[in-house]
């Protein structure tokens, strides 16, 4: 009997509330922990009553959430092709532009996203110059849609147009696909809204050189296991969102031999090899579609309160749950962290990009404990990185046993963000991310940490409770 067990063991107290009892515990040499307690659900009684309303359904919900977590974990991911978006992405047309985050109209988009779209329209040859591109974008002739609706993701502005080459990932377990563009590197790049000639030339190079070479290399390799690279990279100081040094190198190691074996000219081969080599974020555009693939495989699970997408369009942050395709959005936060020289926080755009898909899948910020170098972005100590990774277990339904963190005794990363736990604990998912300049084309101005707005989770809870 558990009560009798208590009578025969040492009392270990968790003090929730008044700190004045602390001295009494100390007087009695009583082992205790004092919680840094804050009212749950930000003290919002309406939300608390929603949580209470759901409580009787808990067993059903937990079962559904476990199912979601096990699906995500079971997902495999192979890079199987590198093809033009229009040839592989569902419902993609010459006049479709996919963007990061929840759906948004062109007029409402953030500067970097508009800049990237202008660049994409010029790149596609649909517009001669910026003015024409803007006119076209506003004309209604272009279909804008969230990349997420097409099993695709992209960092920052996340713009995908018809001719852009995309990584095609395939999940043998659940037979689904995901897509992501190729990372352009740092500096003036489309994903930060730059659309100068230099940017468009690089995109052309990627289309004409990198795509065919890489596609053939991947075919020769019979696909490249992306999940395996993530697993290794987490043991090498990457968290595969903001730090991709090891994973990019590992990917190059996997693919280099096959690139050399392709039928293309030496110039094209070395161009491709150097392109990958020179970009330490190359792998981000592979870790993201891996996450998308795994999370998509868990969609349409009834009753689940687990998040399968977290994404931002530079204006709003949106989340989706496993049980429905609805977006729950709220204005995106600003990233807090390290500003690059010459820039201030005023220069930064709000949080943007699909890359928070990594945190949704238990890596990125959730794996920070294995990537201690990351904490320097926030001027913190390494232990903070450990604490973040530990704390994320408070808001998830499960853990990813394949993704482990060596400094934390190979603790698995937290997986399956549960909105109920987020609302109740006030603990928000932690996201490692880059900061875009608010004006199109300037590029990255810093990096740091950001949280989704709590309102996304609150709205999702309200919606969920309606169905109970």
């Amino acid at each position: 009997m558990s009560t009798l067990k208590l009578f025969n063991e040492t009392l270990k107290v968790v003090n929730v509330g008044s700190p004045s009892f602390k001295k009494d515990y100390e007087t009695q040499q009583l082992d205790y922990v004092h919680l840094e307690w804050r009212p749950p659900a930000n003290g919002d009684l309406k939300l608390l009553s929603l949580l209470n309303k759901i409580r009787p359904k808990m067993e059903l919900i937990e079962k559904a959430n476990e199912e979601v977590v096990s699906k995500i974990k079971a997902a495999e991911a192979k890079l199987v092709a590198v093809k033009k978006a229009v040839d592989v992405i569902p419902q993609m047309t010459k006049h479709t532009i996919l963007h990061s985050g929840p759906p948004i109209a062109f007029d409402k988009m953030a500067g970097p996203m508009q800049g990237a779209i202008i660049g994409a329209l010029m790149y596609e040859g649909l517009a001669k110059d910026q003015d024409e591109a803007i006119k076209l974008a506003k004309s209604g002739k272009i279909t804008f849609d969230s990349a997420h609706h097409h099993q695709a993701v992209g960092p920052m502005a996340g713009i995908i147009s018809a001719s852009m080459p995309v990584h095609v990932l395939y999940n043998e377990t659940h037979k689904n696909y995901s897509y992501c563009t190729i990372n352009e590197g740092l500096g003036k790049v489309l994903r930060y809204g730059a659309n100068s000639k230099e940017v468009l030339d690089r995109l052309k190079f990627m289309e004409e050189t990198v795509m065919p070479v890489l596609n053939e290399a991947v075919e020769l390799a019979d696909g490249i296991d992306i999940k395996a690279i993530i697993t290794q990279a987490l043991h090498m100081g990457d968290e595969c969102h903001n730090r991709n040094k090891a994973s990019s190198a590992l990917f190059l190691r996997e693919v280099a031999g096959y690139i050399v074996s392709t039928s293309f000219s030496d110039e094209m081969k070395s161009g491709t090899l150097n392109f990958i080599k020179n970009n330490e974020h190359y792998f981000l555009n592979l870790s993201m579609p891996y996450c998308k693939l795994a999370l998509d495989s868990a969609r349409n699970t009834k009753h689940s309160t687990v998040v399968v997408a977290m994404s931002r369009n530079g204006v709003d942050f949106g989340i989706q749950l496993a049980h429905s395709d609805k977006w729950f959005t709220a204005p995106a936060n600003y990233v807090k962290g390290l500003m690059f020289p010459g820039f201030t926080e005023d220069d930064a755009a709000p949080d943007i990009g699909d890359s928070a898909i990594t945190e949704t899948c238990g890596i990125g910020g959730f794996a920070m404990g294995g990537a201690p170098a990351i904490v320097q972005f926030v001027g913190g100590v390494v232990k903070q990185a450990y604490d973040y990774s530990k704390e994320m277990h408070e808001i998830t339904s499960g853990k990813h046993q394949v993704f482990t963190l060596p400094p934390l005794d190979f603790m698995p990363t937290a997986l399956g963000i549960d909105i109920l736990k987020v609302v109740e604990t006030n603990i928000l998912p932690i996201i490692n991310t880059g900061m875009a300049h608010k004006e199109a084309g300037v590029g990255q101005v810093g990096a740091g940490l950001v949280n989704p707005p709590m309102a996304c989770f609150e709205k999702a809870l309200e919606d969920y409770a309606k169905g109970v």
Binding site: M1, S2, T3, L4, L6, F7, E9, T10, L11, K12, V13, V14, N15, V16, G17, S18, S20, F21, D24, T27, Q28, L30, D31, Y32, V33, L35, E36, W37, R38, P39, P40, G43, L45, L48, L51, N52, R55, L186, G187, L338, F340, P341, G342, A373, I374, Q376, F377, G379, G380, V381, K383, Q384, D387, E391, H393, E394, E424, T425, N426, I427
Partner: protein, 509 residues
Amino acid sequence: MKAYEVIKNSYYDSVTLMSTTVSIKKDLNLKDLVMFMGTDMNKEMIQSVGLYDQKFDDATPNDLLLGVEMDQEVDQWVDQVLSKLNNQNKTQDESETVYKTIAQAKKAKDSNIAIISVPGIYAANEAYKALENNMHVMLFSDNVSVEDEIGLKDLAIKKDLLMMGPDCGTAIINGKGLCFANQVSKGEIGLVAASGTGLQEVTVIIDRFGGGISQAIGVGGRDLSEAVGGRMMLKGMDALDEDEQTKVIVLISKPPHQTVLDKILKKIKTMHKPVVVCLLDAKVDQTLKDTYFVSTLTEAAQKALELNHIKTPDLMEIDEETNALINYEIKQKQETQSKIKGLFCGGTLTAEALSVLRSKVDQITSNVAKKENEKMKNPLESKGHNLVDLGDDMFTQGKPHPMIEPMIRLDRILLEAKNPETSVILLDFELGLGSHEDPVGVTIETIDEAKKIAQKDNRSLTFVAYVCGTKQDHQGLEKAEAMLKEHGVIIANTNAHAALIASKIIGGR
């Protein structure tokens, strides 16, 4: 002025450099500072900032580039920058682990009990979380709904956990006092109580006469209501009946609902240990084997000690010394002085005093009374024999409970002193964990002042006090009692004893 330096073969991580640039710039009062490894991209960036020097041309990515702009020359700026940079690189203090949720603490520390004192509206939620994490709960908070109380207690019972409270102020588990509790010896007497000060009083008396406590389980003041149905009292009885260290069981509560009383009596019949039942005013006309019904806390403690084979003197006896004091006081009284004014910090102690005095004096009223004719019409007014529980909500709105802050009783003492009908002022003082550091000390001057007020009017005021505490309590029982005696206060053995002494002074039956 600007200055430049290349430190050959000194690799620093770019993030380290960027993150420390700001603090070094500030510490050394530099107008601007760049610190980068000598990559081409970095060189370009430095050029754009305007701190580039030809020195940098040949630098490699393994060389550290330093560029600085100073308003006035900083001595050996390179050394200073480097020493700060290297300092930065050393291990920093570990930030202390912060726990935000019960689940987190449970995981890290394997805690087995949550003591919850957050505002009532949030309290049930935390208690659910604790129970869901297989932890026992002491819920100090009040203002928890009856529905939640029932839900929590049902969950606890299902999981074989203790759910003490809501509104549970006192418990002693494994010899450790929780919230408001006295330091008592370990022993063989186990308690289940729906009353905080009731539990304190019984455990204090047991300790004082050489007994000890195995466990003292609080259940919260509402547990024995019809709705809650004594869920935790019954659970606690089971637990103590099975607990090997417990030989005698004491149940304490204000009068329960009849349906609940029936359940308790039914449960008692199944128990294997002697049970002392103290339901204060409740009439129980039953005879059960090994079951002893008593009406005061003092009797409860005394009976429990007896059943635990510990001899005690008659605690309600008034010894010669006290008798002499009483007689002396009686002689000093004016004719007008006929009333007892009890000013209590402990709710159950008030109720116990009422049950003692009811038969001894006429027309006594109290704000804890349940009977219509005993209810105090206006607890703020001093009229007739009054027993006032100053821990009542009407006195504590926005203020700490008088056990924590006995100062709120002081004005009331003076008010009673000014009333010509006042003969005896009856006071309780609680020592122990949670209580005020020196409740007697903060009251003693007021006692003197009250006496002076009465004396000016040729009245002699008698103070009778009981200090609920043990020798081990950190406030010091002996010190407290000595101070009261020194100021002419009559000290009682127990709370019930104090009420009895008061009745003697006004010539009660």
